[in-house]
């Protein structure tokens, strides 16, 4: 997990630009993990950062706000039929920052992550990508800590089972 900088001091566009430069990459990657889709991840993070921009002078913790908006928007979007999950046989090939194709392990994990339900996926991303504590994840998801724990435990168990099954099948 990259060390995320503290929210920049308020001060208009410049402060917001600094915030995006410091946290944009992490938020974009989180969005891609949450959506399971390269392009939809970009759309999601743009939408969320636009919201942050519009509320820039009124939010105390922009990064926490952005994370919360990210998971909320993704969970809400997954509830809509026209924006719901669209499972595909193969993940789209997307260029990485280094221009290399995704590794086999990562591809496998991403695919399994995409098979989790949106809430489970959000918990995993917040806990293991954003490095949030259970309390912070609970606050971001607006759910009890106990629910975060159980959801996380269930999600990890599913990932393990699937990975083990796939490993055994190979």
């Amino acid at each position: 997990m990259p060390q995320l900088g503290a929210p920049p001091a308020r001060g208009g566009d410049e402060a917001f630009r600094a915030f995006v430069e410091a946290n944009g990459a992490t938020l974009l990657h989180a969005a891609r993990l949450l959506t399971g889709d390269h392009q939809r991840g970009e759309d999601l993070v743009q939408t969320v950062l636009t919201k942050v921009y519009l509320k820039w002078g009124r939010i105390d913790a922009p990064l926490a706000y952005a994370r919360r908006a990210l998971v909320t928007a993704q969970i809400d979007a997954s509830r809509r039929r026209w924006w719901g999950e669209r499972p595909t046989e193969t993940l789209p090939e997307t260029a990485d920052a280094d221009g290399l194709a995704p590794s086999e392990d990562r591809d496998q994990l991403r695919r399994l992550l995409a098979e989790l339900n949106p809430r489970e996926r959000a918990v995993v991303v917040l806990r293991y990508y954003c490095d949030l504590s259970e309390q912070e994840a609970a606050a971001a998801l607006k759910m009890p800590v106990g629910t975060v724990k159980s959801t996380c435990s269930r999600a990890l168990a599913r990932l393990r089972v699937e990975l083990t099954a796939e490993g055994a099948g190979q």
């Binding site: 917001f16 430069e21 992490t26 519009l54 990562r106 083990t164």
Partner: protein, 258 residues
Amino acid sequence: MTWDESELRAALHEGEGETLSPGHIVALGEARLQRRHDRIRTAAVAVVVTGLLGGGVGALTQLGGSSESASSNSAAGAKLDHFGGDRAAGGSSGSAGSSAGAAGGNASYGSAPQPLAPAAGAEKVCPAHPAAITLPTDEAANTTAPLFTGKVTSIRLCGYRGKPDGVQTLRAVTTLRGAKAQELADDVNASPAGVRAISCPAPRYSRSVVLYPVSGTTPGTTVRLYATCGIDVTDGHAERLIWNPPADLRSVLDDLTK
């Protein structure tokens, strides 16, 4: 394949590093702000336009209502000013009727199409209670003499209605002008003397209208009209019993004494 949480973390971090353009996000935000401002401006314009249209329609409706009211009374060329009870026109009540009375009764009755109008002050102001003009009791009275003389240019009509104690108070005022005033005068003058109603269940003299005619600029003889079972008209000397006014004028008289 087996893994632990640290491997999960590492796997999740793979592929990150692609950056976002802050300028692009700011541009998106600015565009959204612009759209929001446009919507607010559009809504504000819509509200203003709706308000103006509403006001215009209201004004037109009011004008329509006035002309309708005028036309409903157009046969009599009259528009009524109503009074609540004991208020006397021309007094300190400040009503339209009183100001009209003080000004000679011209301004408030502009709906009448007839151009003729008496000079200011020629018409009587309606008093709070009707003028004491009673039907003559003398059988030998000249009952067929004209009640209105000369060319009547306007008649101010003051309507009264009696209270349970028998006292009549001013209810409404109107003025007939020109041809309509002359028509009323001619119709009364031409009506037969009639006969007194023998049996009348209604309270006697519960309603009355006092008429102040003007010929040119000269006030004529005040005439009082009693409405009970029929309409009796007198100036205290001559009389017309059970006068049957034209329907449009009857409705005006009814309105005056409601």
